[in-house]
């Protein structure tokens, strides 16, 4: 078994847009022992979702959405903001931080090792399944599924572009370049191409 630092739970699955695009609600204060810090759910953070004992989905946070039902409700309140937890505790829970997570691969325990795979997973996560921050060592292991650095999920991400995608991909590549200096040359070619396409769109 590969050594991993303790993964911190940052939220739970509350919905999905498709087979590999999940909506995760970040744990609010009081829901778990250690409330996730903003850095734990940062843009580009890799996460894991356990499907069963041996099978984990590997995803990456690509967006954050703040949900506040009180937004726009400007009428008078019977209680002050400070008294709210006492008189209507359920109201507080209606605000939430949601994360968009794109599933980029899987980790499957096989014997004493883990098979990392960057293809679309066959299994899907369940509602309420806990979402944990992926340990740094697993991030690196995931990106070397065959011993060489690979980002085979990039084309899938690129197929559904959004404004922040180039930054997301470059952030991933920067992390890999720092971790694997021997592979820096070809990673830089990929990074350069992504930057070029983002900065100089085809006309």
């Amino acid at each position: 078994m590969e050594s991993r630092d303790e993964p911190r739970e940052i939220g739970k699955i509350v919905g999905s847009n498709d087979h590999s695009d999940y909506v995760v609600q970040v744990h609010a204060p009081g829901e778990v022992e250690i409330t996730p810090a903003p850095a734990d759910r940062a843009f580009g953070q890799f996460v894991e979702i356990a499907v069963d004992e041996d099978y984990r989905l590997i995803g990456v946070i690509y967006t954050t959405q703040l949900v506040n039902p009180a937004y726009g409700t400007l009428g008078p309140r019977l209680s002050t903001e400070r008294e709210l937890p006492v008189f209507s505790p359920d109201y507080l829970a209606e605000t939430a931080t949601l994360l968009g997570i794109s599933i980029v691969g899987t980790a499957q325990t096989a014997g004493h090792g883990i098979i990392w795979n960057q293809r679309t997973p066959t299994l899907a996560g369940d509602l309420d399944a806990p979402v944990r921050r992926l340990a740094a060592a697993d991030f690196l292991a995931f990106h070397r599924p065959t011993g060489q650095v690979q980002v085979a999920y990039f084309p899938r991400l690129l197929a559904r572009p959004f404004p922040g995608l180039p930054d997301l991909l470059c952030a991933i590549l920067d992390g890999l370049i720092a971790a694997f200096p021997n592979e820096a040359a070809r990673l830089s070619v990929a990074r350069q191409n992504i930057r070029w396409r983002a900065a100089i769109p085809a006309r």
């Binding site: 060489q148 085979a152 999920y153 084309p155 040359a185 070809r186 350069q192």
Partner: protein, 591 residues
């Protein structure tokens, strides 16, 4: 494993898949990853039609290679990072590049016809396409096996390993339906021509060859006489006769009126006198000697004066005496200045043409007009002899009895049959055209070599049924070749500028399909090499050589007779440019 080397015992592996019909009915397209980069243009592939009960392979020649799928340009951003490494990064495994190849169908090879028969329908989508093995290609391309009668082994197929597929021309075809070797300077024309002569002189062929050699570069063929490759167990060894300009004689009486006009540059009145005088000497010779060419320049001059005197006596108002005088002056000047013209001597056909003999006629110091006359007279006599012999008009002891075919190789052919308006003014053009059109019936074959196909007469060129093209860069020459060479398709012509020295495209009657050839090495040394001027300059300034020169030129070392003031006049070299009348004869008294 190199499948091109399979001998048919292992089932071949397809190299591509048929995609569909091409742009023309004779073409189809195939798609291939071509990992080993063997599907070069000019390469031979085949497929089999499952409906054919004989399962005959249908051959085609790759005409064009286009990329069908390539790495994105982005992947090539860093020269130190191969695009495959970037593709690996994205998890891509497998063939990256795919090529679409356009194949010109030759057809299946009919053993009886010894020719390709086109099935006239392209393969169905998905049919596997195979690379033809070396043995297959050799069998379908060559009309002859190495060493058989008529075999002219010129080299090997360029797209295969050197020597893997020998290319053997059919000597029977190009020695009867003529040959053209066309290329830019320095592409290896004379080298290839010498290779072909070597093959013709090998024991299996024992040919009768004459080489017109204006640059004196074929004399090294003399070494064939001693080289073991040419000696047969029955005692045969080729004879190579090298005739220097001093040995070349054209008897004045073998010149026709047209030749004389060409050499003499006459006014209309002189032309008239010449025609009449010529007719008179011919009939007189025929009457007195039984043949028409037993006369001398003096006889012609006498007849010219006699004609002029007769006209004067007839008193019809015309006086041709001054024209006869001018004609005499021109004829005498011609006899004084011309190197090859002779009152009585001339080259005996039977001395020049013998089976197993290669005669090299070196004309390097002969004026171009005289070269044309030499060729015109020789070819006329050769053609006449072959006609008379074939039609059984020539007696065995006659000079015009030549009971075997002959092949004449002509260097710098554009001088002897230039294109455009000049063609009719050159003495040798007419007989060359006649032989190219009719020579095959009488066994007179001509091989034309030219570095300026654009300057060669197009009718002459198009009569050569075997064409060997080496590197041609000049676009005008390329388009002339395209117009004149029937068997050369666009894809073959596209190869011409890209050929290296010693590589040739062979099309036409002597091969079954166009072939790109690496010319084999000569057995004899090559004589047509360029001068290494810088090296010779360095050698000249070498201190030892300088000292040697000083010793040779020291006044006291020279015999008195060799004092430069009294040096005997050296024979002046004849200028190579086209001579004007005045250059040739001095000031004209009539002008």
């Amino acid at each position: 494993m190199d499948r091109s080397k399979d001998n048919g015992t292992q089932s071949p592996v397809p190299v591509g898949t048929a995609k569909g019909p091409g742009e023309t009915p004779q073409e189809f397209l195939l798609i291939s990853p071509d990992r080993e980069q063997r599907l070069k243009t000019g390469e031979f592939v085949y497929y089999a039609d499952p409906r054919d009960p004989l399962n005959r392979p249908i051959f085609g020649r790759i005409a064009e290679r286009r990329p069908a799928r390539l790495y994105p340009d982005d992947f090539l951003a860093d020269p130190s990072v191969p695009p495959q490494a970037v593709a690996d990064l994205y998890g891509y495994e497998g063939d990256a590049e795919l090529f679409e190849l356009s194949v010109r169908v030759l057809g299946y090879f009919d053993e009886q016809l010894r020719a390709f028969v086109n099935p006239r329908i392209s393969p169905r989508v998905g049919w596997p396409i195979f690379l033809a093995s070396d043995a297959m290609v050799a069998k379908i391309l060559n009309k002859r096996a190495i060493g058989s009668v008529g075999a002219v082994h010129v080299g090997s197929l360029l797209s295969r390993d050197l020597g893997a597929v020998p290319i053997v021309l059919s000597g029977r075809d190009f020695t009867s339906t003529h040959l053209a070797i066309l290329a830019s300077t320095g592409a290896g024309k004379s080298y290839l021509a010498a290779v072909m002569i070597e093959e013709l002189m090998k024991p299996q062929n024992r040919a009768c060859v004459l080489i017109i050699d204006p640059h004196a570069e074929y004399d090294t063929l003399k070494e064939m006489e001693r080289h073991p490759a040419f000696v047969a167990s029955d005692g045969y060894a080729p004879v190579v006769k090298v005739l220097r300009p001093a040995d070349v004689h054209v008897r004045f009486s073998t010149l026709q009126v047209g030749d004389l006009r060409y050499l003499l540059d006459l006014s209309d009145r002189m032309d008239y006198v010449l025609s009449e005088a010529h007719r008179a000497v011919l009939s007189k010779s025929q009457r007195e000697a039984g043949v028409a060419d037993q006369w001398t320049p003096d006889d012609l001059i006498r007849e010219a004066h006699a004609f002029a005197a007769r006209k004067k006596d007839e008193d019809d108002g015309s006086d041709y005496r001054s024209s006869a005088g001018s004609l005499e002056w021109r004829v005498r000047q011609l006899m004084n200045r011309a190197q090859v013209l002779d009152d009585t001597r001339h080259l005996d056909l039977r001395t020049l043409f013998q089976p197993g003999q290669c005669t090299v006629l070196q004309l390097d110091e002969v004026d171009q007009r005289e070269q044309q006359i030499v060729l015109a007279v020789l070819l006329r006599r050769l053609y006449q002899a072959r006609q008379d012999t074939e039609r059984q008009r020539a007696r065995r002891n006659s000079e015009l009895y030549l009971p075997y075919p002959a092949f004449v190789l002509l260097e710098e052919a554009h001088h002897f049959a230039p294109g455009g308006e000049g063609t009719n003014r050159v003495a040798s053009a007419e007989i060359l055209k006649t032989i190219l059109a009719e020579g095959r019936k009488f066994g007179v074959g001509v091989g034309l070599i030219s570095q300026r196909p654009g300057k060669l007469d197009q009718d002459v060129l198009s009569q050569c049924m075997t064409q060997i093209l080496l590197r041609i860069v000049n676009p005008i020459d390329q388009s002339n070749v395209a117009a004149a060479v029937e068997g050369a398709s666009r894809d073959v012509l596209d190869e011409l500028p890209a050929l290296s020295k010693g590589q040739a495209v062979i099309v036409g009657a002597s091969v079954n399909a166009p072939a790109l050839v690496a010319v084999r090495e000569r057995h004899t040394p090559h004589g047509g090499q360029d001068q290494d001027a810088p090296q010779r300059w360095v050698d000249y300034n070498n201190p030892a050589r300088q000292a040697e020169r000083e010793r040779e030129t020291a006044p006291d070392a020279r015999p008195a007779l060799e004092n430069p003031l009294f040096l005997p006049e050296r024979p002046s070299a004849i200028p190579k440019k086209d001579l004007s009348f005045e250059d040739f004869f001095g000031p004209d008294p009539e002008r």
